[in-house]
């Protein structure tokens, strides 16, 4: 009997697909993430330890080898590693004052991609997503409907929407509706 009781880990958006020809929705692959808080004096050492220069300009990000550091606030960053690295341990190697909280399983992400990607997101988010104001690499914490999300533009026609796990189906539904409307 015991061999029938094996638990299989399933991501909240497993099997979800949606959107339209002008804005496709895909659940992102699992990744490791930390919420990083640090004073300005720690940034050089942390950049060295993480292998990415931590951005200090609002709404910007930096990336190297599948690792992304997103500016969230003047002393807060979201670090995403697509290869599943142990980011808490890597940040600890810096040896300087910082706080790194593992949020790998708190967040999940939806990749929104297509010609009318801005329209799909703007259906429930009021930020200006035009390329002039929100260029490739720009990122921002904001609201998508009632859910807090982090928007990250990875290409001209692609956004990564980082959303809390428990809000993921809500966010997916909102994006799906707007993506279908954009195709009409």
């Amino acid at each position: 009997m015991s061999d029938l009781m094996q638990a299989t880990r399933r991501s909240v958006l497993d099997g979800y697909h949606g959107g339209s020809a002008v804005a496709r929705l895909t659940p992102a692959a699992p990744a490791s993430r930390i919420s990083l808080r640090a004073p300005a004096a720690s940034l050089d050492a942390l950049s060295g330890a993480l292998g990415v220069t931590i951005p200090v300009k609002p709404k910007t990000s930096a990336a190297a080898n599948g690792r992304h550091v997103l500016w969230i606030g003047p002393d807060e960053w979201l670090v995403i590693d697509e290869n599943g690295a142990d980011l808490v341990a890597e940040a600890a190697k810096s040896g300087v004052l910082h706080s790194a909280a593992d949020v790998s399983h708190r967040n999940t992400a939806i990749i929104v991609s297509g010609r009318k990607v801005e329209e799909a997101i703007n259906g429930s988010c009021s930020q200006d997503l035009s390329l002039a104001v929100f260029p490739v690499g720009a990122c921002s914490r904001t609201l998508l409907g009632k859910a807090e999300v982090v928007l990250y533009r990875t290409a001209e026609d692609t956004f990564r929407v980082e959303v809390w796990r428990s809000f993921a189906t809500f966010a997916f539904g909102l994006l799906d509706e707007a993506a279908k409307d954009a195709a009409l």
Binding site: P58, K59, I72, S126, Q127, S140, R141, T142, L143, E148
Partner: protein, 106 residues
């Protein structure tokens, strides 16, 4: 929808991203253990609730998460300007009746 300028994000954002944090520039008495109950009440509870210009704390809770201060008109809801926490209270003469009537809060 109101647009509020966040001095940390350096751009205007939707009011939905913000929370009001009450009056700004309320200094906590340094001798808090010695003051009378009446003095504590005055510091802790009593606010002016002015009609017109008010200096308030705001928090960009669904954005950068930081507290900042803003000058707002309680009648028109217009934001005159906002500035980082810890910066001195600006002189109202610098932003009132400047002829700039676009509603920009920079």
């Amino acid at each position: 929808m109101l647009l509020i300028y966040c001095p940390y994000c350096e751009e205007e954002r939707n009011e939905l991203e913000f929370r009001n944090g009450g009056d700004a520039h309320i200094a906590r008495p340094t001798n808090i253990a010695d003051i009378t109950d009446e003095e504590f009440e005055e510091y802790f509870f009593i606010r002016q609730n002015p009609k017109g210009l008010i200096f308030e704390r705001w928090r960009h809770v669904h954005g950068c998460g930081k507290f900042f201060n803003a000058a707002r008109d309680t009648v028109s809801d217009r934001f005159y300007m906002s500035y980082k926490a810890g910066e001195p209270k600006p002189d109202p003469a610098t932003f009132l009746n400047t002829g700039n009537d676009k509603g920009a809060s920079k």
